[in-house]
């Protein structure tokens, strides 16, 4: 009988590592500080496992196999796409619970693709390094369970299905034999245009809209967002709000609080940090 004890919705912006000095000083400090604040709050939740929900960036998975969603049930390391200040290293896993979530899903209509040895990309590695690792250094033993949604490469997972998948994660955690305290982290930028001619554009209105849904726990509003709407107002990168929707789906009814937000054009992304309260 595990329990979901909290959640976070955070960005995983690689440009922060590539050009850390690009934005104005106060913005930089606030954004790196927001990750630190998430770590401090995670520490207080005394989690045994974190489920970090990311999305592939056409890197882990190629045209030969594009899963709708995947869970890492075995050895984990990363990132695959090494960045300045973000070397590849082993990531402490939570194999028993991850395997149980996969199995529970398979028995209940959620056909997880499974990675038994998995090198995550920055979508999981950044939150793991910036939010979970500091808590591990304080002596807490936390296993990371990487989850990937099809948000970067089509065919995309549907918003509604991402929410349902969150529900499946929750159901599995609650059915698990161990008394785990689980925190879900939805990892994704809000508005950002990746590799398109509009790269660098950020849309604060869109970002505020999404953070509003998150804070008020409006799952149905998230499910109602069409891909066309997301692409127009949030960019192709904003398809990653699927990861937020999935984390929200694991905590139905939960309210949230914005830890910080900034529209950082120099880092090409609207960076929002939200905590969800169980």
């Amino acid at each position: 009988m595990g329990k979901i004890v909290g959640g976070f919705l955070v960005p995983h912006d690689p440009v922060m590592f590539v050009v850390p000095q690009a934005p104005a000083e106060d913005i930089r400090q606030r954004m790196w500080g927001a990750f630190e604040e998430c770590a401090a709050r995670l520490a207080r939740l005394e989690a045994s496992s974190v489920v970090i929900i990311g999305a592939d960036h056409y890197f882990n998975f190629g045209t030969g196999c594009l899963p709708q969603y995947l869970i890492g049930t075995g050895d984990v390391d990363g990132p695959l796409d090494v960045l300045p200040g973000l070397k590849r290293q082993p990531i402490p896993a939570s194999e028993a619970l991850a395997g149980f979530i996969a199995e529970h899903g398979h028995a209940n209509g959620f056909d997880w693709a499974v990675a038994r040895a998995f090198t995550v990309d920055h979508a999981v590695a950044i939150p793991d390094r910036l939010i979970v690792d500091p808590v591990r250094r304080q002596g807490q033993s936390i296993g990371t369970i990487p989850v990937y949604l099809a948000a970067g490469v089509d065919p995309y997972i549907r918003m509604q299905r991402a929410i349902e998948l969150g529900g499946a994660i929750r159901a599995a955690v609650e059915a698990a034999p161990a008394d785990e305290r689980v925190v879900v982290i939805g990892s994704g930028g809000i508005s950002h245009w990746v590799g398109t001619a509009e790269m660098g554009r950020v849309n604060e209105d869109f970002d505020r809209e999404i953070m509003g849904y998150a804070c008020r726990g409006e799952l149905s509003a998230m499910a109602a967002l069409s891909d066309d709407y997301i692409l127009e107002h949030g960019g192709n990168g904003a398809m990653e709000i699927r990861q937020w929707a999935c984390a929200m789906g694991a905590m139905p009814g939960a309210r949230g609080e914005v830890i910080d937000y900034a529209a950082v054009r120099e880092w090409v992304t609207g960076l929002g940090f939200v905590q969800l309260f169980a």
Partner: protein, 98 residues
């Protein structure tokens, strides 16, 4: 011909060192091994990321392909190639010039 085989090769050009090497050393030999149209081959030869996107190729992949294989891998050069000479991408390019 769809974008799919083009994306297959471009993904390999993002992640597979051997394929990247071959792209540099024996481009035509590499291209011959894929069921691409002449138009698609030309997009690769000319790093024409704008044409690729018009063809339906995922923008993350055009960016990755550029960053791993282009003669000038800088994002500013990518943006210029994508937007044309009259590029308005100052903010982003400026950021990445640091």
């Amino acid at each position: 011909m769809s974008r799919n085989v083009l994306e297959k090769l471009m993904h390999q050009l993002c992640v597979d060192r051997t394929v990247k090497q071959r792209f540099k050393e024996d481009l035509e030999g590499l291209l011959a091994r894929y069921a691409l149209t002449e138009d698609e081959r030309d997009m690769l030869r000319r790093f024409d990321v704008a044409a690729m996107q018009k063809h339906g190729v995922n923008p993350m992949l055009t960016l990755g392909f550029w960053s791993e294989n282009a003669p000038d891998r800088h994002p500013a050069a990518y943006m210029k190639a994508l937007r044309g000479a009259d590029s308005g991408g100052e903010v982003f390019s400026a950021a990445l010039k640091h």
